[in-house]
């Protein structure tokens, strides 16, 4: 038996050949080392994300999440639900709160789910992977399997919005959360504690619909990382990762900047520090190659 088991909601972006598939690869490697077992919710569907409201409205959005929660209850009812994507986590958790809070919505949801042979109770806790690592294992445990500390790598911890607000990680502040920095330290890297744009919003889904406005945000986030001498940026969220990484070329064209900074996931740092190969850590999925991590991963 694994040390910890969770009912797992991967989310669309983590699917094979989707934008955060390499996040998933590194999470698998990290969890293997930590002896955490993730039980994927069978036939899960998209959570509707933060942009779903406009066309979806309330009840249809809650139904999307309730179906996942009900499937989780049916299959892994005694485990907490864990999500790796901040938007998924938030969407599911918000729907759960709303459904549990209102007898009418609760009843409506169950009427709707019944046709598909499902039942919603809403008793499982819904948590973000980072939350689980910190609260259920703790920094000390997370530090134990480190074989190759990330010596000398300077890392800007970009927490973003939705991993941090409105729920966040217990005991952390909304304006200046420290957990990413602490994770970086745990794996032997150098956190840039003075990095100012830790919780600046990257524009989220509006990176697609309002690219210029969002790219102005992203530019601030990257510039500040360079100002503090960062070798790379680390994030806990697949949307943040993608937004901060893939538009660097367009920003360079528009503003004449020379951005070319790797944007990694916390799980990639951990996987490499735990001795994973570049492939196992999903480093082949980074568009801006994280060469310093690749070098460490290649070391025997």
């Amino acid at each position: 038996m694994a040390r910890k088991e969770y009912s797992f909601y991967p989310g669309c972006s983590s699917e094979r050949k989707a934008s955060a598939s390499n996040y998933m690869v590194s999470v698998e490697s990290m969890c293997k080392t930590l002896d955490i077992k993730l039980n994927e919710i069978p036939d899960w569907n998209c959570c509707g994300a933060s942009i779903g409201y406009a066309e979806g409205g309330e009840l249809p959005r809650h139904v999307m999440n309730a179906r996942n929660i009900a499937l989780s209850e049916k299959n892994f009812g005694n485990q907490d639900i864990v999500a790796t994507c901040a938007a998924c986590w938030l969407g599911a958790k918000e729907s759960q709160e709303r459904i549990n809070h209102s007898e009418t919505i609760f009843a409506d949801i169950n009427v709707i789910l019944k046709d598909a042979g499902l039942k919603y109770e809403g008793k499982q806790k819904i948590r973000h992977m980072v939350e689980v690592l910190i609260e259920d294992l703790g920094y000390e445990e997370l530090g134990k399997p480190v074989k190759k500390p990330l010596d000398g790598i300077k890392i800007a911890g970009y927490v973003g919005c939705q991993t941090n607000r409105p729920f966040g990680v217990d005991g952390e502040s909304f304006e200046s959360p420290k957990y990413l920095d602490k994770l970086v330290e745990t794996v032997g890297g150098t956190p840039l504690e003075k990095y100012e744009e830790k919780v600046t919003c990257c524009g989220g889904a509006l990176a697609f619909s309002e690219p210029e406005k969002s790219q102005a945000q992203i530019k601030k986030i990257i510039e500040s990382a360079y100002d503090h001498g960062a070798d790379m940026i680390v994030t806990p969220c697949p949307v943040c990762q993608m937004n901060v990484e893939v538009y660097q070329g367009q920003i360079n064209k528009k503003y004449g900047t020379k951005f070319n900074i790797p944007v990694t996931y916390y799980s990639q740092l951990m996987a490499v520090a735990y001795g994973a190969s570049a492939k196992e850590a999903g480093l082949d999925g980074n568009i801006v190659r994280a060469t310093k991590l690749e070098e460490i991963a290649a070391k025997k």
């Binding site: 669309c12 972006s13 409201y53 979806g56 139904v63 409105p166 509006l206």
Partner: protein, 207 residues
């Protein structure tokens, strides 16, 4: 759709606050706002909001129905939740902004060309078709939103990004034909249809 707008105007006459309370997600919170302005200073795309949240709350109370519902402002919300964690009265501001946008869209009076409105619609259709996001179809749809010529241009601008994703295995080149499906897709479509019906009935939207 605009017929629905007429129905609502008739139904609520001059009481826009009451209309918002009844029909907008978390709308019953609006009256709790004490106009401190903290939220308005929190929006990442602040300069692009013609009416920031605090002002919108004031306008709702002042009965400025058209100015609020036809505004582009709520569509600038990035769901960053800055406002929610800062508001001294704990208003769920993010959700009220989403709720207003959704309501205006439902009534058919939201700004037609607003890119976020159009993207959100495409996104929802994309996920409800198969149950999961099909990223390629979604992006292609997004580029061609303004027509063919501009779609080609945008597609070319995004080509380096797309190629990067493709090379690193983060984009499914066959996504136009497959991908983004779960087994229960049929069930999901039925559930959503039913949820819409129930919601419409509760809110008096149904004919």
């Amino acid at each position: 759709m605009t017929d629905l707008n007429k129905v609502m105007v008739e139904k609520y006459r001059n009481d826009f606050l009451k209309e918002v309370e009844a029909n907008v997600e978390e709308g019953n919170w609006v009256k709790m706002c004490m106009q401190c302005g903290v939220c308005s200073g929190s929006c990442p795309l602040g300069p692009h909001w013609e009416h920031p949240p605090q002002e919108i709350f004031m306008m709702i109370r002042a009965g400025k129905r058209d100015e609020v519902l036809r505004s582009e402002s709520m569509w600038m919300c990035t769901s960053c939740y800055n406002c929610i964690v800062r508001c001294p009265r704990e208003l769920p501001i993010t959700h009220i902004m989403h709720g207003l946008a959704n309501y205006a869209h439902r009534l058919g009076i939201a700004p037609k060309l607003n890119p976020t409105r159009r993207f959100a619609k495409m996104f929802w259709n994309n996920i409800t078709a198969g149950g999961r996001v099909n990223e390629l179809k979604l992006s292609v749809g997004l580029y061609f939103m303004d027509g063919f010529a501009s779609g080609i241009k945008k597609g070319l601008e995004m080509l380096p990004v797309g190629l990067g994703m493709l090379k690193t295995g983060r984009l499914n080149p066959f996504g136009l034909f497959s991908g983004g499906h779960c087994k229960g897709a049929g069930d999901i479509r039925k559930m959503i249809k039913k949820a819409k019906e129930i919601e419409d009935k509760r809110k008096g939207f149904a004919a």
